[in-house]
Subunit: 194 residues, 2 copies
Amino acid sequence: MTNAARARRPSHGPGSLLEVAVTEFNTRGYDATSMEDLSRAAGITKSSFYHHFAGKEALLRAALERAIDGLFTVLDSDGARTGSPLTRLRHIVRGQVEVLVAELPYVTLLLRVRGNTESERWALERRREFDGRIAALVREAVEAGEIRVGVEPALAARLLSGLVNSVVEWARPGPSTLPDDVARAAFEGILPAR
Amino acid sequence: MTNAARARRPSHGPGSLLEVAVTEFNTRGYDATSMEDLSRAAGITKSSFYHHFAGKEALLRAALERAIDGLFTVLDSDGARTGSPLTRLRHIVRGQVEVLVAELPYVTLLLRVRGNTESERWALERRREFDGRIAALVREAVEAGEIRVGVEPALAARLLSGLVNSVVEWARPGPSTLPDDVARAAFEGILPAR
DNA sequence: TAGCGCCGACCGAACGATCGGTGCGTCGTA
DNA sequence: TACGACGCACCGATCGTTCGGTCGGCGCTA
């Protein structure tokens, strides 16, 4: 592909169309958003949309892949693979919140899929894998004696994921102290008594 | 209306139909579930469904009201209105988890509405009210010096709600120690370091 | 207690609207 | 003139909803 071909008339590149689509999906929900809604929001006709994407599910798939890629990048970073289980866990939580904010609309969409289509089931499976990696790390930290065993490690892992993921419900893009705040809440209590 | 008239032939009461519908809604998502899906799951025809409910949204509305009622019942209980802010907060968290498990499918549906219809916007507004009551209580507890101010009270309230609500993603009905476990995680940390 | 009239529960068929998707022509630029 | 970007008109399928009608058990009356 030549640069000229890519930049010919990029008034509506696939990238910007995907962004528009994901925003609409998050506002109305994927199933409740029609292709006509999308094209209206993008300022082109429905058929023009099909010039850039194979279909509605292709849009969803692209968005979900972007979210999944972001999340797994956190697991592959240095801080997630070196050090004690607890240190790695803290690093991952911070990184996960960072990705969550940086790729907010994409991750938001990911966290809402129900498994109706093949793409959604694929995303669900990858999420399961991600959560499984975290649960394993929690178990390691407990076995290493770094963490108090107040509840089952499996339950703790689920609550941890729930806490972190709930951030998409109200987070706003831009720099903040959110990653550290969430990590502190997770490891020292959201509302620790004096 | 006589009792005999009401109990004439209750093979498919509105109650059981609602239960079936909510289950389907949670599996596929509200918008992705057709009235034909519902009637197939209920064992009656689509048109028969309209004999018991005014329409698809009426089903949603009934389910959302049930969930909302359950949640606000917690706020009205004795333990939520007497004692120190921290004590009341702990009581509410436990009670909220209890309702969440007892009315699992209804609350699950509630936590997924996006505001597409009038009923959904109503439910969203009630949820906002509920969360506001909790946020106010968190602020009180901080001002009373019962809680350490690690993060902004407003942020802490959001994380608290996120933690509690995330339970619907994996909870199973039936008795358990979940309410206490969640409360402990919220106030003492999900993964407290030794 | 026999007969009648009523009503709730239910169904098959169809409605207009909207869905995701397509075929084909036009426009602008290289 | 070749090609990518785009729009108009339209497709079959499915959506939520409605309508006309059937069935059978119950209460009332004679």
